[in-house]
């Protein structure tokens, strides 16, 4: 990388060509690196246990449906489609309320002038870095005390306060929402809630969409908190099911075709969402993370 850069400056076209070729080779390499595990996963999900034991292959086989049926009917993890539904319910609810309320908080701080406004902002920025794991013990105790174990409330409600989403929305509102619109709405007799819900949210749509995607994906993939709250099979989300399948695989016991299928089903929804919305997602990464 370093050595080929030198030549470019001589204005030599062949050297630039070499630099380009080396760069493309590197890009192809990282592409393969990023995709090979998915490829292998898909291929292996189409092979029977016996075929998997027999060795490695790069071409798909015909057992996709068989594996799907086995995974579907596997009772040791209760019922896989139920797990997918559970994950979907938690993720959908979380992403909606998390984005809505965190955006509302950012809006409140940006639009209104009130005592303690700066303190509120500084407080949220301060707590943004605290990992959820640090308060997990107290949280589990609280959930137990309230009798909310094995329900989804403890996974959904805390998402109302999402400091990172607040931070992102605050930056977005500061840079895109003209306060004149709020003033104009007031003059027209709009109530403040109506102004936020029907006049300002449409303007914030791109940012809200990005945050909803991130929140959905984050919740879908979350393992730590659900594992502490949900111990009944019926309410398990996908990452818990995966951990159960994992502890079952020792030596030759399990049907590996089924295992690959379960992993595939756990990630497919997110991959599909990503392929449709990757532009927003990649654009959103920088907006939310780099300050200043």
């Amino acid at each position: 990388m370093a050595s080929h850069m030198e030549y470019i400056d001589k204005g030599n076209k062949t050297s630039l060509l070499i630099a380009k070729i080396v760069s493309y080779i590197f890009l192809v390499f990282v592409t393969v690196l990023s995709l090979f595990s998915f490829y292998l996963l898909i291929i292996n999900a189409t092979r029977s246990n016996a075929q998997l034991q027999a060795g490695f292959t790069l071409l798909p086989k015909e057992h996709f449906i068989d594996n799907l049926v086995t995974a579907w009917n596997d009772q040791s993890i209760f019922f896989l489609p139920q797990g997918m539904l559970n994950s979907f319910i938690v993720s959908a609810c979380t992403c909606i309320i998390s984005t809505y309320f965190s955006a509302m908080t950012a809006y409140g701080v940006c639009v209104y002038d009130f005592k303690g406004r700066n303190v509120a902002h500084k407080f949220i920025i301060l707590v943004m870095m605290i990992p959820t794991q640090v308060s997990a013990l107290g949280f589990v105790k609280l959930v137990n005390a309230l009798g909310l174990t094995n329900t989804y409330w403890p996974l959904i409600i805390p998402a109302i306060a999402a400091p990172a989403t607040y931070f992102y929305m605050k930056q977005y509102i500061d840079s895109t929402l003209p306060l004149e619109i709020v003033e104009a709405a007031r003059v027209d007799g709009s109530n403040e809630f109506r102004t936020f819900n029907f006049i300002c949210t449409p303007i914030l749509k791109p940012a809200l969409a990005v945050q909803m995607i991130f929140s959905f994906v984050g919740t879908w993939n979350n393992f730590f908190t659900p594992a502490l709250i949900l111990d009944k099979k019926e309410v398990w989300t996908l990452p818990i099911m995966l951990s159960v399948v994992r502890s079952r695989i020792n030596s030759q016991a399990g049907d590996m075709g089924e295992v690959y299928m379960i992993i595939l089903l756990a990630i497919v929804p997110v991959v599909v969402v990503y392929l449709f919305l990757s532009k927003f997602i990649i654009g959103g990464v920088t907006l939310g993370s780099v300050k200043g």
């Binding site: 794991q133 640090v134 007799g189 990630i267 200043g292």
Partner: protein, 317 residues
């Protein structure tokens, strides 16, 4: 409030402050109830003896700093568990973070190069960012099956007359697999962040350098890298804070045991073990405080490195 629509001057005198409080209150009520109170109750637990001995609940009895003493007391073998777990976390993080930063820097320079004008950037960025969104547990499961004793990697080894290599029974191969998954999941994300950083550098600096006859290597080391340093530091420290929370991958790969011999057990795995499996709430609280302090120190460094930039921006307004 809004009935008096034809007198806009009067509106200025109306205080909207109460709406501000109303808008931010759900966030704060929930935060205090679901995060702040649990945070303090976690810290409070650290000063009590409180655990399950079989079916018998021992405590809670106030014991002062005894849990901290226990946590940092060497075992008969001379090693201190919590230090080992912190060490495991750090080692696996570094093994993944170094290639992560190097790859991300190379890719960011390639993508932003004016001269090369790389085509298909959207495709490449989409592909390298994708692993970041995939469930870490699924990645861990996949790599566990690939490298297991009966998995395809070992089949290739034995097919060529070799012997089975137990990847998850050797601490360095087990750690490498965890580190590799972390690298794979995060290098795309880091690339995007560093690209934004490079694009934020004043283009005239590059032009001036090339007029002065600087080579690309000189440009990279004398201009790009120094000006990118604040963002690199930000990326490294936030990655480190994320790395301290490492849990899903080693938890799934070792079924929560941190095998072999606790060499892949991380701080959060230990915490999870205390809360969930052994129900030793006293020790769980103590580990939480240790984790909180480390994160706090690192966050402080983040704020110190990003603060000057924020002030400049505020001043412009």
């Amino acid at each position: 409030m809004s009935s008096n629509t034809n007198a806009p001057v009067k509106h200025k005198s109306i205080s909207y402050a109460k709406w501000g409080y109303l808008f931010i209150s759900p966030f704060f009520v929930v935060y205090i109830f679901c995060s702040l109170v649990p945070l303090f109750s976690t810290f409070y637990s650290a000063f009590f003896e409180d655990y399950m001995d079989g079916l018998k609940h021992v405590g809670p009895t106030f014991v002062g700093f005894e849990n901290f003493v226990t946590l940092f007391t060497p075992k008969s073998s001379g090693s201190i568990d919590i230090i080992n777990y912190a060490g495991n976390t750090m080692i696996m993080w570094i093994m993944g973070a170094v290639p992560q930063i190097v790859f991300a820097l190379l890719l960011a320079v390639i993508f932003t190069s004016e001269r090369m004008k790389i085509k298909g950037q959207t495709f490449f960025k989409t592909v390298i960012y994708m692993p970041n969104l995939i469930m870490a547990s699924a990645f861990a499961m996949l790599f566990f099956t690939l490298f297991s004793n009966v998995g395809p990697i070992n089949q290739m080894l034995t097919a060529n007359g070799g012997e089975i290599f137990e990847f998850f029974n050797n601490k360095w191969s087990a750690r490498s697999i965890v580190a590799f998954i972390n690298f794979l999941m995060w290098f795309g994300n880091t690339t995007i962040l560093l690209m934004a950083g490079i694009m934020g550098i004043d283009q005239s600096l590059f032009e001036a350098a090339s007029i002065d006859g600087a080579t690309s290597v000189q440009v990279f080391f004398r201009i790009t890298l120094p000006l990118l340093m604040p963002i690199i530091i930000y990326v490294v420290i936030t990655a480190l804070i994320g790395g301290l929370q490492m849990f899903d991958v080693p938890q799934i790969i070792s079924s929560g045991k941190g095998s072999p011999n606790n060499t892949t057990k991380t701080l959060v795995m230990a915490l999870n073990n205390y809360i969930g499996t052994s129900k030793n709430y006293g020790m769980a609280g103590t580990v939480s405080i240790v984790l909180f302090i480390i994160t706090g120190v690192l966050s402080f460094v983040v704020f110190r490195t990003t603060e000057p930039k924020k002030e400049k921006k505020g001043g412009k307004k």
